[in-house]
Symmetry: none
Subunit: 130 residues, 2 copies
DNA sequence: GAAAAAAGTACGCGTAACGAGAACTTTTCC
DNA sequence: GGAAAAGTTCTCGTTACGCGTACTTTTTTC
């Protein structure tokens, strides 16, 4: 059992170890220990992490593939964007032909590359940064 | 945080403390300690319990009301492929940034173009088709 | 390119709490 | 009513946790 998804969830939000540990009310070394697998969190700690990352304990533990399952009650599921970079357990199709994981990989890579180029152009323009 | 649901799940199945602890490979006093709240289980232990009772860790922890959520893939909501060429009323995102209609247009066009190329190659090879 | 700052990693210590066995109490069965 | 099954509680030895500190690496700033 590993908790690799912790790092993935934190990176998705561009948070530092220091920020997450502050939000969770624990030492940076404690949270870092959880991510690296050097330490195992208590039930209270993993529950707090699931709340912070707005996902489920089952997702963090690798028991289910979908980070958004039931963190928000299922229902009008298209209220929530479907995050493609985590390869969610939904099937997409074009012209009634299902898309493969490869198709999704290529699309995610394409969008990321385009965003990077857009960022480079913005820097050259000397735009205000956040 | 309490684990009262453990006892409820065990009673529903008419299992004894001894039987459950045997199934889980732990001492009876250990499992009884979890049910009474006198002891806190490890992540491995609570995962094993969720598997044994055929439910989720989130349910045992009291985070969700439904014991069957996602232990079995939830309803036909993601059984149905989402047809992208009709620009359905769902929102897709990559790295927490929503995709625009333009992004989707480009992706649909890309997949269609690639399929056409694949068709041309197949005709040239005179390969068996599926 | 160098220095500073930020971020991430690893170690050691004191302590909390875990897992289990044993002994006990309560409930069920005959 | 006694035996068996089930449930509860206590204690001990051991494990591993949480944290502070020090270190390394990466990023940012000038």
């Amino acid at each position: 059992m590993n908790l690799n998804r912790l790092m993935a969830l934190r990176k998705e939000k561009s948070w530092s170890l220091q920020y997450v540990s502050d939000q969770l009310g624990m030492a940076k070394s404690t949270y870092a220990g959880y991510e690296s697998g050097y330490r195992r969190p208590s039930l209270e700690a993993i529950t707090a992490m699931a709340d912070l990352f707005e996902t489920s304990v089952d997702y963090i533990l690798g028991r289910i593939p979908d980070p958004l399952t039931h963190s928000h009650q299922s229902g009008p599921t298209n209220e929530e964007p479907i995050e493609l970079s985590t390869f969610p357990d939904v099937t997409l199709s074009i012209d009634d032909i299902n898309l493969s994981q490869d198709d999704l990989c290529q699309f995610v890579a394409f969008i990321r590359a385009r965003r990077e180029m857009e960022q480079s152009c913005l820097k050259k323009d000397s735009a205000l940064s956040n």
